[in-house]
Amino acid sequence: MKTSATGAICGAATIAFAFSAAHAEDTVAVGVLQSLSGTMAISEVTVKNAEVMAIDEINAAGGVLGRQIEAVIEDGASDPAIFAQKASKLIQNDDVATVFGGWTSASRKAMLPVFERAGSLLWYPVQFEGNECSPNIMYSGAQPNQQILPAYDWAKAEGKESFFLVGSDYVFPRTANLIVKKHLAEDGLALAGEQYVPLGGTDFSAVIAKIRAAKPDVIFNTLNGDSNVSFFKQMAAAGMGPDKVEVMSFSIAEQEAQAMGASLVEGSYATWNYFETLPSEANAEFVQAYRTLHGADAAVTDPMLHGYLNVYAWKAAVEAAGSFETDAVRAAAVGLEVDTPMGPVSFAPNQSLRQSAHVGKLDAEGRFEILWSSAAMIEPEPYDALTFPGKTCGFVGN
C-alpha cells in the first residue's frame, strides 16, 4: 500500500514538473493559499476570489514582465499545519515566484519558517496583532496602530471614559486589549472590564451580567465569527442592543454584518482601512468588477481589498525590479506607490502598508456609513511604542 501511494504521488509530481517546465518560458507561477474548507473557508474564499480577480485582470492587460501569471490555488483547510505543508509544496513542487494568502495568525506563524527557510515571499492580507516582522512577509493588513488605536482615539475624542473589552480567547483580542489597556492607563481612562470567551463560544450570560454591572460608555468587541451573533442577540434580549450600548467591533466587516442579519448589528461601529462605501471612482469600479463575477449582492470587504492590492503591489515591484527574485522584489516594493481602490498606498521599510483608517457605523443594509477618517496615512508600527517599548523590526536598515 505504501508503495502504491508514494508511487502515485511520484507520478503526479513528475507530470506536474513536466507541465510547468513546458510553460516556464511564457508564464510565471504564483501561489494562492487560503482555506477553501473548514471554519475559515467562509472568509478566506472571498479573499481568494479577490486575489484571482487581480491575477486575471493583470493577465488580460498583458501580464507581468511580458509573462502571463499562472495561479496555483491550494487549500489551507483552516489548519496551520496544512498551511505550512501547502506553502512548502507551492515553493518546492510548483516553483512559484511568490505566494498570496493566509488569514489567521496561526496560519501565518506556521508558514513563516517555511518562507524564511526557502527565501520566498508571502503577501498577507489581513489585519493582525503586530508583534512580528519577517523579511519574507509583506503585511498589507492593518497593524494595531492602524485599526485598534485609531478606534480608541476616535472613542476618546467622542468623550468615552470607560471601556469594556470583550473578545474571543486567542492572540489577536488578547494583544489588542493589552495595547488598549496600556493606553487607557496612560490617558487616565477607566477599564470597565475585560472578558474572553472560547473561540466559537455561544453563552454570553455571565459576560452580559458583568457588562450590565459595569455600565461602560463603549464596548470594544474583538469576538470572532459566529460568537458575534450570539453576543449581539443576547445583548438585545437583555435590553442592551447597539442603540442603547455602543459597540465598536474589529472583526465585523460588510460580509459578516450581512450574514448575521444587519438588523442585529445596525447602529454598531467598526474600524477598518477600507469600506465598500469609500467614495471614489476607482473603488466603485472595483466593487462593480467583483460583483459582475460573483453576484450583485456580494459583499466587498477590507481583507478582500488587501488581497487584491497585494497582487498589484507584487506586479509593480516585479516591474520596478525587473526580476522575480525575492530580495529584488521586496527591496523594490518598499516605498513604491501603488494605485488601489482605496487610493495610492506604499509599503514602509518594515514591509507593512502605510494606510489610513476609517470609522463606520452600520446601517440597516449592513453597509457602513463612514463617520471619521484619519487625517493622513498612518505609518505602520508592528510594536506599539507604549506597550512594547524599545522593540523594533530587526531587519530594517540591514
Binding site: 471554519t39 473557508a41 467562509i42 480567547d169 472578558q195 474572553y196 470567551v197 472560547p198 466559537g200 463560544g201 455561544t202 453563552d203 450570560s205 455571565a206 459576560v207 451580567a209 458583568k210 450590565r212 454591572a213 459566529d226 451573533v229 450570539s230 442577540k233 443576547q234 438585545a236 434580549a237 437583555a238 435590553g239 450574514a259 448575521m260 442579519g261 438588523s263 442585529l264
Partner: protein
C-alpha cells in the same frame, strides 16, 4: 467582594444554562438508558431543529412562528432520528462503542449536508417581539427569551414524566428498561419501543434547536457547542434516569454560571470537567443509581 446582584443574576443564568443542558441531554439519556447506546449525531438533531425553525420562519413569518416551529422541528428531528435508528443503530445494537463511532460518521455527514444546503455561515432566526422584552426586579434583569426557554424545559420534563408514568408507551418503556429479555418474552415488541424512544429523544433535541436559535446563530456546527456538556450531564446523571439527568444539568449549570463570577469561560469549562471527575469518585453510578443484577452491563 462578592456583588449580591451579580450572584443572584448568575443563579438565574445557572438555571437558564441548565434548561439548555436538560433539553440537549434528555434525548441522549432516554435512549442511553433503554438501549445503552450514545448517539454522537445528537448534536446534529439540535442543528436540524434550528434549521427547521429557520425554514418555518421563512414560510410562516409573524409573531407566532416560533410556536409553529416547535412541532415542526420536533417531528422533523424525530423522523431523521427514526431513519438513523432503523438504518444504523439497529444493526449495531450489541456493540455500543461501535454505535457511538458510526453515529459520529452520521454527524459528519449531516454537518457537511447542512453546509452544502445553507452555507457555512450561520443563518439567523429573529425572535418575535413578545420574546424581545424582559422585566427588571431591582437591578436584576430577566430577559423573556431566557424565561421562555426555562418554561419549555419544564414543560418537556412534565410531559415526558406523564408519558412515562401514565401512558401505555410509558409502561412498555419501563418494562423494557427493567428487563429487556423478560419484556421480549412476554410479547413486547422491544424493537418498536426502542424506535419510539429514539424518535422521542431526537425530537426533544429538535425542540432544543428551536430555543437555541433564540440565543445564537444556527450553524452547521451549532450542535457541537452543546453536545460535550450534554454528554457530561448524561455521565453524571446516572443510567438514563430523568431525575438524575435533570439534577445533573442543574448542578452543572450552576457550577458553570457561578464559577464565571470569578473565572473566565475557558477556566470555568476546566472546572466543570474536574468537578464531574471528582464527583464520579464518590458516586461512580451517577446522581441516581440504577440497581442491576446484570454483571456485565
Amino acid at each position: 467582594m462578592l456583588d449580591a446582584t451579580l450572584f443572584a443574576g448568575q443563579v438565574f443564568n445557572g438555571f437558564s444554562v441548565a434548561s439548555l443542558f436538560v433539553l440537549a441531554a434528555l434525548g441522549l439519556a432516554l435512549s442511553f438508558g433503554l438501549m445503552r447506546v450514545i448517539n454522537m449525531a445528537h448534536g446534529e438533531m439540535l442543528m436540524l431543529g434550528g434549521y427547521l425553525a429557520y425554514l418555518t420562519y421563512l414560510i410562516v413569518p409573524g409573531p407566532m412562528a416560533i410556536l409553529v416551529a416547535m412541532p415542526v422541528a420536533f417531528l422533523g428531528a424525530a423522523l431523521v432520528g427514526g431513519l438513523m435508528e432503523v438504518t444504523v443503530i439497529r444493526r449495531l445494537s450489541s456493540r455500543p462503542l461501535d454505535t457511538l463511532l458510526a453515529t459520529w460518521g452520521v454527524s459528519l455527514i449531516l454537518q457537511q449536508a447542512a453546509r452544502s444546503a445553507f452555507g457555512p455561515i450561520g443563518v439567523g432566526v429573529t425572535a418575535p417581539d413578545w420574546l424581545n422584552t424582559g422585566f427588571a426586579i431591582g437591578s436584576l434583569y430577566f430577559p423573556s427569551t431566557r424565561i421562555f426557554i426555562l418554561a419549555v424545559a419544564v414543560a418537556v420534563l412534565a410531559g415526558l414524566g406523564l408519558l412515562i408514568a401514565r401512558t401505555r408507551l410509558g409502561l412498555l418503556v419501563r418494562a423494557v428498561n427493567q428487563d429487556r429479555m423478560m419484556a421480549a418474552a412476554s410479547g413486547i415488541n422491544t424493537r418498536r419501543v426502542d424506535l419510539a424512544v429514539f424518535c422521542l429523544g431526537t425530537g426533544i433535541a429538535g425542540l432544543a434547536g428551536v430555543v437555541l436559535s433564540l440565543l445564537g446563530p444556527v450553524t452547521p456546527t451549532v450542535g457541537q457547542s452543546y453536545i460535550v456538556p450534554a454528554f457530561l450531564v448524561v455521565v453524571m446523571g446516572g443510567l438514563g434516569s430523568m431525575i438524575g439527568t435533570t439534577a445533573a444539568a442543574i448542578i452543572l449549570g450552576l457550577v458553570s454560571a457561578l464559577s464565571q463570577i470569578f473565572l473566565d469561560v475557558s477556566m470555568s469549562q476546566v472546572l466543570m470537567l474536574v468537578f464531574v471527575i471528582v464527583f464520579l469518585q464518590f458516586r461512580p453510578q451517577g446522581v441516581v443509581a440504577t440497581r442491576s443484577r446484570a454483571l456485565e452491563g
